[in-house]
């Protein structure tokens, strides 16, 4: 097997010493792999994805990005975070920056690219996610779907090794979900390594190499999407899926 691009070994996390949020998580993500994480709310899937770039610190176990152990908060961690793209449920575009500035900020301030260089590649990325004509606007002037596509472009501008998506379509109106999913499907098709927390079964079926089902802080089941959705192995997963389908 190829060396994992991101790996979690024996990861445990508690909130406030009592709430056991992640229970002995072991997960490897290979280069070019698309992993979808699903599970009921409160199952720890967002916490899991947020530990991969240490937005949430862990108390036990180890997490590696491309073989390197996640360091403590500081310069070294900032450097490693630049290699891990993150797309949030609530977009989190920088509210005081234009769309173009949102995408050029990281490349200029972190990767130390020139303004011209950052601008040129930002324009290409905005073109790729279909919001090039909005470059001079501020985030609040865009629809949710457009903002999320800009957020994806902002992450891609850092040329990350792996992209994390934390429920990227959950805050969107139904008609905007597809435009974001389409961008994600294109990324998957282009071989991007992705970890995606989502309930979008359509995306999982057409793009995921693997589905990880979580419940109560633990990984309960892993499988390829066809097998998982057709005949999940565990009762807990079957129960969850039945609710997902009927509603």
């Amino acid at each position: 097997m190829v060396e994992a691009l991101a790996s979690m070994r024996g990861v445990n996390k508690w909130y406030g010493g009592t709430m056991h949020a992640l229970k002995d998580i072991n997960l490897d993500i290979a280069e070019g792999e698309v992993v979808v994480v699903i599970g009921p709310s409160g199952s720890g899937k967002s916490t899991l994805i947020r530990t991969i770039n240490r937005l949430e610190p862990i108390q036990e176990g180890e997490i590696r990005i491309d073989g390197k152990l996640l360091p403590e908060e500081g310069k070294e961690l900032a450097r490693l975070r630049a290699e891990v793209g993150m797309v949030f449920q609530s977009f989190n575009l920088f509210a005081h920056k234009t769309i173009l500035e949102n995408v050029t900020l990281g490349p200029m301030k972190v990767l130390k690219k020139s303004k011209a260089e950052a601008k040129a590649s930002a324009e290409k990325l905005l073109e790729r996610v279909g919001v090039a004509h909005q470059a001079a606007k501020y985030p609040a002037e865009l629809s949710g779907g457009q903002q999320q596509r800009v957020a994806i472009a902002r992450s891609l501008a850092m040329e990350p090794k792996v992209m994390l998506f934390d429920e990227p379509t959950s805050a969107l109106d139904p008609e905007m979900i597809n435009e974001v999913l389409q961008v994600m499907l294109d990324l998957a098709a282009a071989g991007t390594t992705m970890v995606v927390v989502t309930h979008e079964m359509g995306f999982a079926r057409s793009a995921a190499d693997r589905v990880v089902f979580m419940d109560e802080g633990a990984i309960v089941e892993e499988n390829d999407p066809e097998s998982f959705y057709k005949n999940a192995k565990t009762e807990r997963a079957r129960d969850f899926l039945s609710k997902l389908i009927t509603h």
Partner: protein
């Protein structure tokens, strides 16, 4: 003394005094902005000793009368040989005093910046100082333009206290004119008050305009 005699005698000193007030107000406010940004950065930093320094700084200046701060600056800084002249002493004292309030105003602005903005900044690899400088402080400032405007006005009026350490600004000048019986106490009061109002009414408009122009739409 007629109005024209009054103006003949006092026009020059009044213009000088108004200019001194204006300079003191702007220089001290500039110091307050810088001090406020540094102190609030300490206050929200993840380093406990810096947090403590910032907390003490704010507590000290918020609980010490401004006049006492001026005396401390005059004798304290003077004895340390740091500042020699009355004007810079007053500017530093007032700047530190208003800076403490500025830090608190900025802190409320920082608390109003959504957590997600900082998380997005961290996840593209910004370090703590970059995050503060590029994302958090610019947004914080824009959400508290109104309160900063209030501080500007309060700071402007507090320049009057500098008269007690021999800075000849508007209030100091008015005290001199009170000694001239011919000038008339009421005439002096009206003139001085009018000059303060002339400066501070427009300031209110400017800050309302800045707020409308720069406040962040979410």
């Amino acid at each position: 003394m007629s109005w024209s005699e009054f103006l003949d005698k006092y026009q020059g000193p009044l213009i000088d005094a108004a200019w001194t007030t204006l300079r003191l107000a702007f220089v001290s406010f500039g110091i307050a902005l810088v001090v406020g940004i540094i102190v609030v950065s300490f206050r929200v930093s993840p380093i406990p000793p810096l947090v403590r320094v910032a907390t003490w700084f704010v507590a000290f200046f918020r609980n010490t009368p401004l006049l006492v701060v001026f005396f401390l600056a005059l004798f304290g800084l003077g004895d340390l040989g740091l500042v020699y002249d009355f004007f810079p002493t007053a500017a530093v004292a007032l700047g530190l005093y208003t800076g403490a309030y500025m830090a608190e105003v900025l802190r409320s602005g920082i608390n109003a910046v959504p957590q997600g903005q900082a998380e997005a900044g961290r996840s593209i690899g910004l370090g703590f100082i970059q995050l503060m400088r590029l994302i958090v402080i610019p947004q914080a400032v824009r959400t508290v333009i109104g309160p900063i405007g209030n501080l500007f006005v309060a700071n402007f009026k507090n320049t009057a206290v500098a008269s007690t350490i021999s800075v000849l600004e508007l209030t100091g000048q008015s005290q001199r004119m009170f000694n001239d019986a011919a000038a008339g106490v009421w005439r002096v009061l009206i003139v001085i008050t009018a000059i303060y109002l002339l400066f501070l009414f427009p300031a209110g408009y400017v800050f309302r305009w800045l707020d409308a122009r720069f406040s962040i739409k979410r």
